[in-house]
């Protein structure tokens, strides 16, 4: 999953990192990185979800704010 040369470092607050490390351990993730990547992937889906955009567009059209 984390191929050599294909990762970049991300800085986390120390306290947050400690909390993440504990949860990753309890939840059975092999590494903190794996846990963080999984959480980010799940969250990114919301941003990339075209259905969200369609819902918003439909609502704004109904309200008369877009044509």
């Amino acid at each position: 999953m984390f191929g050599f040369g294909k990762t970049v470092p991300v800085k986390l607050d120390k306290d947050l990192h400690e909390r993440v490390r504990k949860i990753a351990d309890v939840a059975g993730y092999a590494t903190v990185e794996e846990f963080v990547a999984h959480v980010l992937e799940k969250e990114m889906i919301h941003f990339e979800d075209a259905k969200n955009d369609e819902d918003i567009r439909k609502k704004l059209k109904g309200l008369g704010y877009i044509s």
Binding site: L60, L63, I66, S67
Partner: protein, 212 residues
């Protein structure tokens, strides 16, 4: 010092910034337009959308804004330099990069926004099948995207204004918006433009307006 140098360079490149009042629909954008109008900012509006029960003081809209997703010709935006124009948050990404934008971004509790939007849809006899919880989540992600975009755009400056604060302490909000826009506005008139009675869709716990 650094900011004023940046402003000077931006002005040389783009001319006077277009003042954009933005936010989700029903987040106080019309109220902010009214404040800016009262404070002395020229307003870009065509008065096509008339005042109604949802916006008794008027919408301050410019019809071409609504077509921004479909209409490739956005040259009219340049006519807004030195003026204020209302552009809902969804359409901000359509702003062309040949102008600078000072964006006054209205924030309001999303549950209040949705309650107000749902009332408006009823008044307009529009069907609405979207679930409020899903819509709130979609709006939250949309707002995060707007913030990310604002950080990326070198020709955007943005101030966020909370609607409840604007109603409850208009003097403080007028002061900060005036400072953001260069300090030439009439703050007293901006404050007078705020009508607390129009803050109708409130969450529990907020003080209800006193009867007139």
């Amino acid at each position: 010092m650094l900011q004023s140098m940046k402003d000077l360079l931006s002005r040389r490149r783009y001319g006077a910034p277009v003042v954009i009042v933005s936010g989700l629909p029903r987040s106080g954008t019309s109220m902010m337009m009214k404040m800016l109008d009262a404070g002395g900012v020229p307003i870009m509006t065509d008065h096509v959308r008339q005042a109604d029960v949802d916006n008794p003081k008027g919408y301050y809209e410019f019809e071409r804004v609504k077509d921004m997703e479909k209409d490739p010709d956005k040259s009219w935006v340049r006519d807004g330099r030195g003026k204020a124009v209302k552009v809902i948050s969804w359409l901000l990404k359509q702003l062309p990069d040949d102008s600078a934008y000072d964006i006054v971004f209205m924030r309001r509790d999303i549950d209040e926004v949705l309650a107000s939007q749902n009332k408006m849809l009823k008044h307009r006899d529009e069907a609405d099948a979207t679930d409020d919880a899903a819509m709130a989540e979609a709006y939250r992600h949309h707002l995060a995207e707007v913030r990310i975009l604002a950080r990326k755009k070198p020709n955007w400056r943005m101030i966020e204004v909370r609607y409840d604060q604007a109603v409850q302490d208009p003097a403080a909000v007028a002061k900060s918006v005036n400072a953001f826009l260069g300090g030439r506005l009439d703050e007293r008139k901006m404050v007078e433009a705020v009508d607390e009675k129009l803050y109708r869709n409130r969450k529990d716990g907020l003080t209800a307006p006193k009867p007139a």
